[in-house]
């Protein structure tokens, strides 16, 4: 690497922002060029479904770093710019206008895009998805105190926006295709808790409802389900998951399987001058002994640190305990580890009558994850236990009479 070397980053969100900073910290003295199809510099996405929609935060508040910081780091931006393809033979990227840009190291931070619901009437106004700032801005304009909102999807995005719209005075129905909310990310009893929470707050959750069409003249007026049920709506938000943006990688011959396959250093084994970071990347986890593609900010940031080292010819493997968080009403949900494969679950606290408990997950007697509801201390404890491979017994973890400090002693 020398001062003429060029690092090109495709994508301009959390992963890119951290990658830029980490590249300079790792000693990248060459040029840095970021190509992003967004209008803005990287911004925090999690508040889009929370404090941004409620009006507490402005677009300026959302910026991960101020424009002056990138200037100081000598970064060149091509915003609102589409990359057409990657030519690995000549080490260049081809833009939508045909322009070719050379790279020495290439970082794919292409993220993910929302899955679309293709049913009759889906082009009516008032129907939204939520991924980008522009999506959130459009939703904000349609929020009306006393109006009716229908949320399609019972995942984080669906439930967070439902909570927010309710707080802002809308009547809210949530339509869930499966038998329970948060099915993809938590166990049945925790789903039941969130259903109870939302109904206590005045939201109707309807499971096993599959939207069949939207009705309205120009503006959406109702959602018709396959069951025949009709839900009146002034505003519809669809949150049914995302698809990783892997097309560029696949078209240039990099291995892809629901994510761009990388090694523990975030590099593609097919071409080590290319790294992939964030929602679009699928990495081997030494903790869970399988390939994972994670959709979270901490994952994007931490992978970026590892990828920056790789681009600078250094070695910094990515091996962290995944974690996620969600805010709904007065609930802070913090999840440590992965709970998609477990054979035992125990609860600490009163999941049926309170808003404070932990669900601990075990596989073959080994702690693999914890869902913490308003239990930040147990969350921090879980992170440490998972990181260090410590396994208190399910009985100990479930015993709410044992204080957190006593649990801490168990692991020290």
């Amino acid at each position: 690497m020398n001062s003429d070397s060029i690092a090109v980053i495709i994508g301009g969100s959390h992963a890119a922002s951290q990658l830029i900073a980490s590249l300079r910290q790792e000693g990248w003295i060459g040029r840095i060029l970021v190509i992003s199809d967004e209008k803005q510099l990287p911004y925090h996405r999690p508040p889009l479904s929370k404090t941004y929609l409620s009006g507490e935060k402005t677009p300026e508040n959302l910026l991960i770093r101020k424009p002056a910081v990138y200037e100081k780091l000598n970064v060149k931006w091509l915003l609102e710019t589409h990359v057409e393809s990657i030519d690995r033979a000549t080490k260049s990227v081809v833009l939508g206008n045909g322009e070719r840009l050379k790279y020495d190291k290439l970082a794919l931070c292409t993220g993910a895009r929302v899955k679309k619901l293709a049913i009759a009437g889906s082009n009516l106004s008032g129907i939204h998805y939520l991924r980008n700032l522009s999506d959130a801005e459009a939703i904000k304009k349609d929020i009306k105190h006393g109006g009716r909102a229908v949320i399609i999807g019972g995942g984080y995005i669906g439930l967070e926006t439902a909570a927010l719209l309710r707080k802002m005075g809308m009547a809210v129905d949530v339509l869930v295709h499966s038998s329970r909310v948060l099915r993809r990310v938590t166990a049945g009893p925790v789903s039941d808790f969130f259903t109870r929470l939302h109904s206590q707050e005045g939201i109707q959750i309807h499971t096993r409802e599959k939207p069949d069409s939207f009705e309205g003249d120009k503006q959406v007026e109702s959602v018709i389900c396959a069951s025949g049920k009709r839900f009146l709506a002034d505003l519809v938000i669809i949150g049914i998951g995302v698809t990783p943006n892997t097309e560029l990688a696949e078209a240039c011959g990099l291995p892809v399987d629901d994510g761009i396959i990388v090694d523990e250093f975030c590099a593609s084994e097919e071409d080590r001058d290319i790294v992939a970071v964030g929602d679009c990347a699928k990495h081997p986890s030494s903790i869970y002994n399988r390939f994972l593609r994670l959709e979270s900010v901490p994952n994007a940031s931490e992978q970026a640190m590892s990828a920056a080292a790789t681009m600078c010819g250094k070695i910094k493997p990515y091996a962290v305990v995944p974690w996620f968080w969600s805010d709904q009403y007065d609930i802070k949900l913090q999840m440590a580890g992965l709970n998609d494969d477990y054979d035992q679950m125990v609860i600490r606290g009163d999941i049926d009558n309170s808003r404070s408990f932990v669900a601990w997950y075990f596989l073959n007697g080994k702690l693999v994850a914890a869902d913490c509801v308003n239990r930040p201390q147990e969350f921090r404890l879980a992170q440490q236990m998972l990181k260090n491979g410590i396994n208190p017994s399910p009985e100990e973890l479930a015993d709410d009479n044992l204080g957190v400090k006593q649990l801490l002693e168990l692991i020290e």
């Binding site: 991960i64 900010v297 968080w325 930040p376």
Partner: protein, 106 residues
């Protein structure tokens, strides 16, 4: 613009001008100061922006909220003056603020 001094676990001091209204965490992130990570972007969800406010300034920053305290208490490096720096909003009153960053965040 208020000047804030961030001191790492080895005693090295880093000074930064941080705009009024920003958090002490944002000041560190914008100035590439290691030791304050701020993974969750200020949502009080990750506790990776722990700082220890120098005694003379603690009255001005005020103590941690209950929510902050719960997160901080799990850190072996917690002290009476510990705060999550994402929860300290920079004001003109805090011009000259000095905070220390714990070793675990390096």
């Amino acid at each position: 613009m208020p000047l804030i001094t961030y001191i790492d676990h080895k005693g090295n001091a880093f000074e930064a001008d941080v705009p009024v209204g920003d958090s002490v965490m944002q000041g560190a992130v914008d100035n590439m100061i290691d030791g304050i990570i701020g993974q969750c972007g200020g949502a009080c969800a990750c506790a990776t922006c722990h700082c220890i406010v120098e005694d003379a300034w603690f009255e001005k920053t005020g103590p941690a909220s209950d929510e902050e305290k719960l997160m901080l208490e799990m850190s072996s490096e917690m002290q009476d003056n510990s705060r999550l720096s994402c929860q300290i909003e920079v004001t003109d009153d805090l011009d000259g603020l000095v905070v220390h960053m714990p070793q675990s965040q390096y």
